[in-house]
Symmetry: D2
Subunit: 417 residues, 4 copies
């Protein structure tokens, strides 16, 4: 352990370089799978290091392979896409970029989920490792991933030869900034982020004039019964000790005011910390939907389509134990145990592409004064900006410091001589 | 027509005899299919007439056949059972009889549905016809039926050879006293009383400890969904111009406080004026029940049992036309058009036993002062006692008069020379 | 009566003129409240008659006043707007017109509801009356109304001085072509078309991330409960002998796939034959909506807005009796009794504008061979095109004949010398 | 620690005495709050020890106070009531006792929840402590409680002066045998057993004849809507990371087949591991019930009564830490971490009566061969008898041994010199 502390102490990162990088990325966010300029920026920065750049993998995926003798292979992943949110942080480097959506609307773009921190921290880690080669041995792979927000980028890299283009890692690492006291390093074994899917349910009926219900099979009533039953799946079919969420994200049927519609549509969103629970709930949803359509007497059959899939992020227990011991040693009381979070990530797909175990942790980024006051006043839920909000802005110094150093600690847990 | 008026004018009924009969029956009501004494009373009275008494048919059914030369055969039916209601009419001849029920409770008995009037009126009609044989020809059958209140008596007579024991009638007639201005003769073609069934729905589930819903299939939730859907059958699957009622008369599940029950039971009661609508609704109920059990994931199958059947009382259009013309002539403005009523009768079974068309009408029996005041104050629903209530008591004079005379008019429509 | 038959026999309409008029209108339908050319056509045709043209009343309303000495004043109304339906009748004079809707879509336009027949018949009636002035006396007002399909035209005329600009009629008349054997004249007293309203229900909730339902008040569940309860209003709160329809024409909530929506919207459509039943149902809907919002724990309040109002079309009994007698005399077995129809009309607003009683009847227009075959095969519901369908096309000869002549019979019931 | 091992090693319990005691109790179970003979048996056994017997406290509560110099006061509780279950274990000492219930039914009685083991173990512990007085100092209170199964006994003792009659303990201890490998000692900090309440919900309506729903307010529909909404409380209002169960244990309404009932009743059973979650759910249940009654238009108000209350059993973290360390030392791998259980206990009321912290653990009692085979075949849920089942029988030797010794370890954690 003292080795890792020594390595960290032996090299001082160029803080102004890192800050410039971050602020540039923050001011120039690009939407998922359209990160052309960020891609070029990262490649350009990587060219300064003694590494092999493998890019693009898929549309904009990048790997930088740092070979350094015998030893384990560690892959660390950062994502770099922004969001269609109009920034309201008031930062001098706030984004002013506007894009036109597929619907023809214009919307601002923003790094509202901290991926700029993630990318800066990984470039920082590259700098650390590139400058301390005598103190570690093995192979380090820096993976920069586009399109995390739409759950597309990891899959795109996996589908385009990721596993063939770089050495197979022994462990896959990554982190996410999140609301929490800036600088806190939060981790846990097992489920950290939820498995998630969206489900489009198309409910058939038979339209008729609104005054002639006996000629119809009213799909709005079928939809209502399905909505009522979905929560009973949660309340009656899931072990109350397990975690399951079934949300109706949208419902729609009918446009004319005096016509019973032909069909209705529900879009569900479901989350779990267990693939077994997920399987049971999905079976129940399918059973309920088909039976309710039958109960309504529709001649058609419901269609049920799954999309926007998010894998369960289920941290490997052994990596967790090994890294957490070092987190505790380096960060002291700022190394804490995370709760499981209900959001999702496509990070597990990177590990799965290699068949490699993975570990993912969280870095608190809320400005410390805001956080401390909110905690004191019991107003965390009300006062602390969370990811994706227009006023989400990490407190730079403690956040980048904890992100870069925790990334180094985790990688060096395996690579330090 | 003038013939009928002449016949009615030619003979004066013994009013004190009829009243004594009525008051004796009223004071001595007997429950359905236990009408031993009333049966004997009727047979005794019939022995005074020149007729053939065919009795018992089934348990307590009676027919008196008055043959009088060539001509049509007319059957007229009256019922004679009382109800388990403790009388609160204050009449000097009120029932004081008490019986012990199967549950061991004691309850008063009462002619709370006017069957005493029905029987007295038919004995009166027998007297009229027996004393005016020269003015009519054909065959008249006076049928006295037990057990109407439990829908058992007509079936019992039909099952025990009714159709073989008396001549087949050309028309079957009958009437019922009902709230409405005493003396009013109310009739309509087509549906007069509703078809009705009770339906016992047994809903399978799987019991479990109350804290372990994931080990159960909760039949109370299934029951709730079925109850919700039943009204949608009425609101969505029945032509809004048609009449249909689906009522949940009872629901039950579970006894222990902390156990999810194994099963639930609903008892439904349904009413219709059309056998086609009935068929559609019953098919829908069965579809809904089975699909909701499937939606809940129960491995068992629901059972659906029909009982307490009531036939649609659907007046023959031709009899109605012929008799109504005479009602209008004899009763003037007191012959009115009835609404369809939602209650049920086993009267149609008598006609069906012979394959004969039938006609059934209503006689208003509410004391005239009560009725007129209620109408004036728009308080009919609140102030007028209805059948089966403890304070239901026909105003004797106008009611027995209209009942006896309308029965005579209807019979003589076919029998008058 | 023989007078009316004589008048009809005394003048022969110019059938080729009428047919040209009809086919021209049919080929050139205009959408509701955009009937500029049809307006001009009608005014031009009216100029051929000895009448006073009062136009426009409102946007495109027209009255032609035929004064002809002392006597009653009769107003007869025809409507003249088309529909956004792409015609598929295959007629040589089928519409090929296309319009661009507010949404930017293009859609065909079509006289899919027979208003071209209505207008032609009224111009035909004007010709009859203008040419038989010696045989009638009084005042005849031909009223041509735009915008019936969107329930706007009658109100627009009433709001713009209709009652002040023409004499007050003693009776207001009108008719509608409808599926049924072409040439049949169908009428009834009392409710002929339903009262109707659309109701926009805005259901408040509180949005949250889809994985955090405990921070939300889910408006989709509230909507489901309301939908379930609406049919129970029909099944439990309306006298089963009454007519009431509550239809959910559209439901909508949410756009994002993983967000619990802030709010939901239902649009209902309700129909009745009684204003009393309507009042009870609307009170129940409001009670249910507000209570379900409360049950969900929303802090906001639902809003309930009524629109697209249709008055109950409740035929005056006296006009019906007088006219029906003449219909029976002139049309024989082709004068039949109509069922009440569940659709709605803004015709009553014309009568109400004057405080005058009204009568409205139906003319069968289905090609006779189609109708007879459908009846024989019990496939009326499947095989007979109904109003608003793309293949709805009246059989011209019997339909225009029955429409024109029944209009003349009804008007002459009051005006014939 | 070695002290405790030494103390346990220094005295050998009279195993045949203990076994006779157990088998006698097992053969003679008494129902809750009717444990007259068991009470006398315990008192008799206690008389052999050098202790002060304080009894009865309430109906059948017993405390035996062992004073032994300065030091902490430790109270250990065992319960001793049986259940109305007909035993089917096949044991030679199986119960053959039959009782007559309040309903007049007869039912067997059985120690189907292991309270006989609990009581024997505590008498064993008394023997250990009474014979090793030189090795510990302080005060030990053995508390024997009746009526646990109906959540009555602890409250009865608390209400009848428990806290005044014996010294106030520093810690309160207890255990429960449970399915699990016989001899396993399972413990956890915080919530071990659930908080629980039953809730009787009376739903007002307005009865009417089944054919006249418009005169009713149908309470079965209200009940159905409430049942539907209860699961949405679980699925939408509880943080999915929290534990909450809302079960409908019984529902009932109506007896007559053709009457809409006046009222309905639901009995709910709810369980939680957090009083905060409980408060939120109960508020939601009350909100839902009252709003649904309002939605149905009932004029009456629902009543909601809580009963059969079970406190959250929330183990004190400090006692857990101290005792668990010793469990691990003494029992090695047979000291494991328990899951929270969804059942409830009135044990916390003993601690609360004194304002003292408490700790409660579990002892596996399933015969080891049964358990091992079930685990191997993944059939634990199917094959392992659980508490309250007629075939529930602890494997005596390892169970009594672990129960007695773990009780001694826990007590001596505080009392050992």
């Amino acid at each position: 352990m003292s080795n890792i502390a020594d390595i960290l102490a032996s090299f001082e990162l160029d803080a102004s370089w890192l800050r410039r990088l971050y602020e540039h990325m923050h001011a120039n966010p690009e939407l998922s799978m359209h990160e052309e300029e960020t891609y070029q920026l990262i490649v350009r920065e990587l060219e300064a290091f003694d590494c092999e750049i493998v890019a693009p993998i898929g549309k904009y995926g990048i790997c930088a392979v740092f070979e350094n003798g015998a030893g384990p292979t560690v892959l660390y992943r950062a994502d770099f896409d922004g969001l269609p949110v109009t920034e309201r942080t008031g930062a001098p480097f706030a984004s002013r970029k506007v894009v036109t959506t597929a619907d023809g609307d214009t919307v601002g773009t923003m790094h509202a989920c901290g991926h700029d921190i993630h990318t800066a921290a990984l470039l920082g880690l590259c700098s650390v490792l590139d400058n301390t080669r005598d103190k570690w041995s093995g192979t380090f792979i820096a993976l920069f991933q586009p399109g995390e927000e739409i759950a597309a980028g990891a899959q795109d890299m996996a589908d385009n030869g990721l596993a063939d283009k770089v050495p197979t890692p022994d462990v896959v690492l990554g982190l996410h900034v999140m609301s929490g006291r800036a600088g806190e390093v939060m981790s846990k074994p097992g489920p950290q982020f939820a498995a998630c899917d969206s489900i489009r349910v198309h409910i058939p009926g038979r339209g008729a004039h609104g005054s002639m219900p006996h000629n119809s099979v009213d799909p709005t009533f079928t939809a209502a019964m399905i909505i009522a039953r979905l929560q009973a799946i949660v309340g009656r079919e899931v072990n109350p000790a397990d975690f399951a969420v079934v949300t109706v994200g949208s419902m729609s049927a009918g446009k004319a005011i005096n016509i019973i519609p032909n069909e209705a549509e529900l879009v569900l969103n479901c989350r779990f910390y267990s693939d077994k629970v997920k399987a049971r709930v999905y079976a129940a949803i399918e059973r309920v939907v088909h039976a309710e359509v039958a109960a309504s007497g529709a001649s058609g059959k419901a269609t049920i389509g799954y999309f926007a899939h998010g894998e369960l992020l289920d941290n490997d227990a052994a990596i967790y134990s090994a890294v957490r011991e070092n987190f505790d040693a380096i960060f002291g009381p700022e190394s804490t145990t995370s709760d499981p979070k209900t959001v999702s990530e496509d990070f597990p797909i990177i590990g799965q592409a290699f068949g490699a175990p993975y570990f993912f942790w969280l870095i608190g980024c809320t400005p410390r004064d805001v956080w401390d006051r909110a905690v004191e006043e019991d107003r965390v839920a009300e006062d602390v900006p969370v990811n994706h909000m227009a006023n989400f802005l990490p407190e730079y110094e403690p956040t980048i410091d904890a992100a870069t150093r925790s990334a180094a600690v985790a990688a060096l847990t395996y690579l330090a001589r």
